[in-house]
């Protein structure tokens, strides 16, 4: 792979481009899925290829090819340079990359047990056991037990002298059970999702025990009364908050949105360039820390697809927005001297774009339990996990559901509920946060399928939080 990357750089340099880089990748994905008691999917996918960027007179050209032969690398270089030149001939290019010293090295994500060496009978047996557990009740109408195991090796090289490589392993178990009762269907799912880890993450997830809990909670949920409407306090667990922060903090603080580059598809953002360092995003206790160096994080790759080292920084500090996540192309445009390393592509066949980093809501530094947060609520709801989610294209008006709901009365969690929605506006919502549990209760969620860009591509990142309390939130779909 390194030889092919060197070949691509030699060809790019010989063609006289202002800048060029190449990503040579191989990838293996194993997918297993039980639908109820039947193995519905047993698939293995391997891919390999190269993606090449060329910058000519400030205009990008990107081309990719499958295959790891010298001919496909040369073809990709030739096409990338050709379309970059064609672009530069039609309109003046304006791409200026923030500076970056040449990078060298290699990175390997944590993987204690290689998931591709685990006997497939063991994998299938584990999912079959989970399926049997979930289907043990006649009240369960449908279940899924799934496993996604993925490894990609990548070499990134640039005409500026960078040559780095990474080996990344991601593992994701997933369970969901649908309970049926009197014409209604309600589901409950495993919410932790993916982690940068090997088979050990599947083992740590204790899937058969989780399957039993999911089954019982789905049965509880489908028989529960529907949630109320009105303004009330919420205590949200880390899994629910992971999606809420992804949509209302992660996307609005991507620099390409602030620059209008996503206006046609994913949308723009209410956060302005001039808001860096001054916009009140949340209450004083709200701190969002971006961290592409956290070992278990799905966006921790060693270097991003610009070749920029992964970093850690505050997105929001003491409630105040600090800075956008950036790539080399946007850094100078947003007033920064260097990129934050948020440039990632789905794979070699996609142009890398500005993506969310791993980030999380910092837990309370003093001891604080979820029960103490609930104790401070007279009337409200405790929500676990993610459910329905929707937000406007400027990332202001949102509505979220959840996976499990519990009524709070006079400071105590009482009965289960179903069909609960909460809605708010981004800065009002985070401004209403008045309590966060400590790090003992931290829950992470790894997302493999964050969609963005045109043509659409997916990205992966990890979020997390300890349960947190929010005051006076509209519940029941009333925020227009």
């Amino acid at each position: 792979m390194r030889d092919l990357a060197e070949l691509a750089i030699a060809e790019l340099s010989a063609s006289g481009v202002g800048y060029g880089d190449a990503r040579v990748e191989t990838r293996m994905v194993e997918s297993l899925a039980f639908r109820k008691l039947r193995l519905e999917e047993a698939a293995l996918s391997t891919s390999e290829g190269v993606g090449v960027r060329a910058l000519v007179d400030g205009c990008w050209g990107f081309a990719s090819s499958t295959g790891l032969e010298a001919a496909s690398v040369r073809s990709a270089v030739e096409r990338a340079v050709k379309i970059a030149r064609s672009g530069a001939s039609v309109m003046k290019g304006s791409v200026v990359l923030a500076g970056l010293p040449p990078q060298t090295g290699s990175y390997e994500s944590p993987c204690r047990i290689d998931p591709f060496t685990v006997d497939r009978h063991e994998k299938i047996g584990l999912l079959a056991e989970c399926s049997e557990v979930m289907n043990a009740s006649p009240g369960i109408g449908m279940t899924w037990a799934q496993m996604h195991l993925e490894r990609f090796d990548k070499v990134f090289a640039s005409t500026e002298g960078t040559m780095v490589s990474s080996r990344i392993t991601h593992s994701q178990p997933f369970l969901t059970a649908y309970a049926l009762h009197e014409g209604d269907a309600q589901s409950r799912s495993l919410q932790t999702l993916a982690r940068a880890a090997g088979w050990e993450w599947i083992e740590e997830s204790r899937l058969p025990e989780t399957a039993e809990r999911i089954r019982e909670e789905a049965l509880l949920k489908v028989r529960a009364v529907e949630g109320p409407s009105g303004v009330m306090d919420l205590v949200l667990d880390g899994h629910n908050l992971s999606l809420t922060m992804h949509e209302s903090v992660g996307h609005p603080t991507e620099s390409d949105r602030a620059l209008g580059w996503e206006a046609n598809m994913a949308g723009r953002t209410f956060v302005k360039l001039s808001d860096q360092g001054s916009l009140r995003y949340g209450s004083d206790i709200v701190n969002f820390i971006a961290d592409n160096t956290m070992p278990a994080g799905l966006a921790s790759w060693g270097w991003d697809d610009d070749g920029v080292p992964c970093q850690k920084w505050h997105t929001v500090r003491n409630g105040i927005f600090q800075e956008f996540g950036s790539v080399r192309e946007t850094a100078l445009l947003i007033g920064r001297e260097s990129s934050r390393g948020c440039c990632r592509a789905q794979d070699f066949g996609h142009f890398p774009i500005n993506r969310q980093p791993n980030f999380y809501l910092e837990p309370c530094r003093e001891p604080m339990t979820p029960e103490e947060l609930i104790a401070g609520v007279k009337t409200g709801i405790y929500i676990e996990g993610r459910g329905s989610f929707s937000i406007d294209q400027n990332r202001v008006n949102f509505q979220f559901g959840g996976d499990m709901f519990w009524e709070i009365r006079d400071g105590r969690r009482t009965r289960p509920l179903k069909k609960v929605l909460y809605g708010s506006h981004t800065t009002e919502f985070w401004g209403s946060c008045d309590g966060i549990a400590d790090e003992r209760f931290f829950q992470a969620m790894g997302l493999l399928t964050c969609g963005k860009g045109e043509p659409a591509q997916s990205a992966r990142m990890t979020h997390g939080a300890s349960p947190a309390r929010f005051r006076n939130i509209t519940v029941g779909g009333g925020v227009r």
Binding site: T66, A128, G260, N264, H350, E454
Partner: protein, 420 residues
């Protein structure tokens, strides 16, 4: 690869398989797009991907292997990988062999040579033209333009051999002006079939007309949905229109085949040779056919895989990848003129299920909402909604002429008395 080379390759792969059942599916995808925003080309791409999917089965177990290594000498290792995977699979109580031999595949005109061979010039010029038109009006444009080609050759161990070649030209554009915006999506088999220049001018004018939107009082109102807004809702019906999940009680269509699910003037169908070209075959080699899903408000057909078809006595119905909502005549403007007061909605954004069982959705409006009263329309702010599309489509007062929006052809609709 040529058509002959692709067909030879999949047959050679099948020839190496040692188990009774197999499907070899070789696909090539080329996409060449220019993306633009904020007065600059932000992406300029020409990508190529070739992959082989090999499905193998021994009569009671099955497995699937995908590889990007497409060369004759790699075939033995690809087949071995697939068969190794098969040997570790558990028995499948719903095992089905590939589609029965003798499938008659429809011939679908979905390919345009000029689009397939398109050079970068026209797409760069279209992007530059969009940005220039917006700039002249003090507005800002962002969008995507280019082409996509997908070629598929498939062989099944039951004797089916099929090939399909399709092109798609795309131009989408959003213009922001003041506090307003507008959007247009053009898709055609042929680049020459897209009215790019006239659409650019229209979108700029619409965005300027959307500047400075006001609040508006909610309540029960007539709605005029533009074709894009209708097309945005249709996929959520389609995802629920599955025979098996309906029989299992998961979807809103459970027990409703042959019964009224919308108003009588809503018809949803698939016409393979219609305005959105369909696929001639599915991933098992089963031939696709024209379908009527909802006929004058009555649920007629649900997608159904071959196992569930055998179990329930229904015909197997694959999804053909093309959908059409019947329309009438005229434009959204004509529909607005038929009501003294309505909200006109250009498109929806971020639609998600609120409740899958009742097919309740939430979403936002985007890129143009207008309060139209007695012939005058003024822009109003985007808003969140929680609606059930089957209820919306039970309130259709009038339909305009359908337009292609992605894989759905949809008309503008006038809906009576919707709670906003």
């Amino acid at each position: 690869m040529t058509r002959e080379e692709m067909l030879d390759f999949v047959q050679e792969v099948l020839g190496r398989v040692s188990v009774p059942d197999a499907v070899a599916d070789l696909s090539e995808e080329r996409s060449a797009f220019v993306r633009f925003g904020q007065e600059r080309i932000t992406q300029n791409m020409d990508t190529f991907r070739r992959a082989l999917r090999l499905w193998v089965g021994d009569g009671c177990r099955k497995a699937e292997y995908v590889s990007h290594r497409i060369e004759g000498k790699a075939i033995p290792s690809i087949v071995k990988a697939a068969e190794d995977l098969l040997h570790t699979a558990s028995e499948d109580p719903e095992y089905m062999p590939p589609a029965e031999g003798g499938q008659a595949y429809p011939v679908i005109d979905a390919y345009d040579e000029a689009t397939a061979l398109a050079e970068p010039g026209p797409r760069m010029s279209a992007a530059a033209g969009a940005m220039e038109a917006a700039r002249r009006s003090g507005a800002e444009a962002a969008g995507l333009t280019g082409m996509y080609r997908e070629t598929t050759a498939m062989a099944t161990s039951t004797g089916n051999l099929c090939f399909h070649d399709a092109t798609e030209a795309v131009f989408t554009m959003t213009v922001h002006a003041g506090g307003g915006s507008s959007y247009r999506s053009l898709v055609s088999t042929r680049w020459s079939g897209m009215p790019v220049d006239s659409s650019i001018e229209e979108v700029v004018e619409e965005a300027l007309a959307d500047s400075e939107p006001d609040d508006f009082p909610g309540g029960e109102m007539d709605l005029v949905l533009e074709p894009q807004a209708v097309a945005d809702l249709v996929p959520y019906l389609l995802w629920s229109m599955n025979a098996r999940t309906s029989d299992e009680g998961i979807t809103v269509f459970a027990g409703r085949e042959g019964r009224e699910v919308t108003g009588g003037n809503f018809t949803l169908s698939s016409r393979l040779g219609g305005p959105v070209p369909g696929r001639p075959f599915d991933s098992d080699g089963l031939a696709c056919a024209d379908q009527v899903w909802i006929d004058g408000g009555v649920l007629r057909t649900l997608q159904c895989d071959r196992f569930w078809a055998r179990k329930t006595g229904r015909p197997a119905v694959p999804g053909p990848g093309c959908y059409s909502v019947d329309g009438g005549e005229g434009t959204a403007d004509d529909l607005v003129a038929r009501t003294p007061r309505c909200l006109r909605i250009r498109r929806f954004w971020y639609i998600r299920f609120v409740d899958q069982k009742s097919l309740e959705l939430t979403g936002m409006t985007r890129d143009g909402v207008f309060l139209c009263e007695n012939g005058t329309c003024r822009p109003v702010r985007d808003f969140r909604w929680n609606w059930k599309p089957l209820e919306l489509f039970s309130r259709i007062e009038a339909l305009g002429a359908s337009e292609r929006k992605g894989f759905v052809s949809a008309p503008p609709m006038l809906l009576r008395r919707v709670k906003v």
